[in-house]
Symmetry: C2
Subunit: 200 residues, 2 copies
Amino acid sequence: MSQVFLASRNPKKLEELLRILAEVVPDIEVLGLDDVAPYDEPAETEATFEGNALLKARAGVEATGLPSLADDSGLCVDALNGMPGVLSARWAGTAKDDAANNRLLLEQLADVPDDRRGAEFRCAVAFCRPGGVEDVVFGEMRGVVIRELRGSGGFGYDVVFVPDGETRTSAEMPAAEKDLISHRGKSLRAVAPLVAAALG
Amino acid sequence: MSQVFLASRNPKKLEELLRILAEVVPDIEVLGLDDVAPYDEPAETEATFEGNALLKARAGVEATGLPSLADDSGLCVDALNGMPGVLSARWAGTAKDDAANNRLLLEQLADVPDDRRGAEFRCAVAFCRPGGVEDVVFGEMRGVVIRELRGSGGFGYDVVFVPDGETRTSAEMPAAEKDLISHRGKSLRAVAPLVAAALG
């Protein structure tokens, strides 16, 4: 059993990572923050997804001694100059309140016409190993922000985002189908061979 | 008595404009939206301050037949990639709620360190005359976003903004002193000679 640590306590992220890594590393075990001794998690104070992912993966290595993954991702909206970006999870001020974040985003974009509602999800995944080897990989998914909430899958802004080429929101897509095109799916598939090589 | 129309019903903006224009055009009368027959005000749907100012000034000319001024302005925060920008007045979603906007902005910037809290107020003033002559002028005021609300003057984000070279927020500065350095003061002083020439 190979262990890798993912610096997250979001069960949906842990599931998603396991689903993708298991294809490449069949006997992998993904430990999350709730599976290890508590440690001081760094605040996500960096100005980039890459910076925050590295902060968290380095802290994971230090705390667990395991090869550690961390991601930072968010929705970059054209009409908001790329924001909420690194502030996606706390856009409405209160931490991690998806409903409040989505409500605020739709209100901010209320007067933005249909042809200016482009956006993309971006994800950076950092993979840090004991000894100091570090990689960062990226993934993105372009689409548009619609004007209402649709769907019950996914999390975060999935309910207001329709990927290019789709009519469904990413919250209306089955998880496996979303993985194929999603920012996180792409970056996790990009990091999977690196994890396999490190654990192999 | 020379009349000019300012497409605003904000008494503080009308006052500020009169204060500045009166130095250049002593007998000027500034009419606001509440002084003229109601008309369909255009929504501020443009992506730039200039675009919104022009929309509003053109509509003013059409509705009143008077030389018409309109401004659009906002706070452009470095750590938010220049937002709230054109969405400054409705950043918290609900229209023109200064308290909600300031609360949201401070919460969004809660984890942004002191050396990355730069921002600038920007203003575009459009001056449109019957017959189609149009000018747009600009002004800006750089500073930082602090971590609490201070002062009772000004409006909007003045309570959280300390201009470069100042220790007071722009809400703690006497109006006349703020006018000398403010984005709106600069752009109104830049447009004043154009107004004087058009009305002379």
